[in-house]
């Protein structure tokens, strides 16, 4: 836009133009988009300047009042937020403390009153029956079945093997374990009693599993009595002691 255009804008806005000038101006507004754009901005700025300076005092008064109300509102609000906040943390601590108490009580009760389970203590390694170089298919079957926790199949194999090898303590022990797993407690207990009475290296282990058999049958008193017969030099005495403590 030229200087003349801006002077024209001003004259038009002030109404200081002749009828003909006005018509020419309006036709140009319709036809020249750039002219129209500039005029609209000019008009908008005039209105802005007029309002800003005319209204300066009222605007300042409004702003001051607004700031005052805002400050009062937010100061009050922040205070209440603080109070609420501290209240909340107080509640939080209260709940946290309550939760801790419940948790400790729970652990205490669990330790004191809940009974240990068979599964917690029945940890046996995989067995190896064929190390001695025997290539007995049935031994292999028993071994694999036991290690794969297919105790029914293992029991079947063990019973067959024991018919041939009647005094094999090792087989008796594993057969007993398989039977405990199968909940065939009578068979298991009979085998274990037998081992317990004997003098094999599996004596203590047999006693231990006898105790576990009672544990699985929830005969806690019987379990405890059996455990107490295990000598302190037994391999797994730590475990024995542990279970005694839980049951006692």
């Amino acid at each position: 836009m030229t200087d003349q255009d801006y002077i024209l804008f001003e004259n038009y806005l002030l109404g200081d133009v002749s009828e003909e000038e006005k018509k020419t101006f309006e036709i140009r507004l319709e036809e020249d988009s750039k002219f129209k754009e500039s005029f609209n901005t000019y008009k908008e700025l005039s209105s802005y300047l007029e309002h800003t300076f005319e209204n300066e005092d009222a605007s300042k008064a409004f702003k001051a009042n607004l700031q005052k109300i805002s400050k009062v509102y937010f100061d009050k609000n922040k205070d209440s937020v603080k109070i609420e906040g501290s209240k909340n943390t107080y509640h939080f601590y209260k709940y946290a403390m309550a939760a801790c108490v419940v948790l400790f009580l729970g652990i205490f009760m669990f330790n004191q009153f809940s009974n240990p389970s068979y599964a917690d203590f029945a940890h046996y390694d995989t067995i190896s029956l064929t190390v001695r170089g025997e290539q007995d298919a049935l031994l292999k079957t028993a071994e694999n079945a036991f290690n794969n926790k297919d105790f029914a199949k293992a029991e079947d194999a063990f019973s067959k093997l024991l018919k041939v090898d009647k005094d094999n303590s090792e087989l008796k022990l594993y057969r007993a374990i398989a039977n405990i797993e199968l909940n065939h407690f009578e068979t298991a207990d009979a085998l274990l009693f037998n081992l317990q009475e004997g003098q094999s290296v599996y004596k203590n282990k047999a006693t231990w599993y006898l105790a576990l058999s009672k544990l699985k049958q929830k005969q806690y008193a019987a379990c405890l009595d059996i455990l107490k017969t295990i000598p302190e030099d037994a391999d797994n005495y730590k475990q024995v002691k542990n279970l005694i403590n839980k049951l006692d």
């Binding site: 200087d3 901005t41 700025l45 309002h51 005319e54 009222a58 605007s59 409004f62 607004l66």
Partner: protein, 193 residues
Amino acid sequence: MSEKKLHEDQKYIDGLLQNNSFIIQAIYDKFVPKVINYIKQNSGSVDEAQDIIQDTLLTIYNQASEKKLELTCPFDAYFFLLCKRKWLNKLKKSSNKEVTINEEVLYKDDEAQQLAFETDVFGEKQELFTEMFNKLGNACKELLTATFKIKSMEEVAASLGVTYAYARKKKSLCIGKLTELVQESPKFNLLNN
């Protein structure tokens, strides 16, 4: 807009315009908590909420006093959307990231969205105009200030020691200069489109 029915909440706009403390107080009590919550949930603090709210009310006041603001929707929605726009704009500026306000497109027809949009653009323009006015030379600033404060061009001319014709011509050219500054700004083109 004039055919549309004025909402009863126009009383809040009128109250702001009259600098009515009772109404301003009521706006704070009724409509501000929602805004504070929104800003707090969108990575802002209570202090930032305080600024945004004050700024929003000032923009509403300015629009109402300069252009007449006719509320055709509840004040609650209009005010909340306006604060939200201002807050998102602020986030956008401070993070230099594109913050897309998808709702804008979704609810473009909505009365409150439309009104909030208009007021927001009005506020942004005011900010831009003030910024550009300050870029003018001192002679122009003095003349324009005097022109709009004193109103009578004759008095202005006399106070500045120039002829009436010169003062009026100068006024046109100064607003012309301001027009150019504004039109050159990329922000103005964004706001006008």
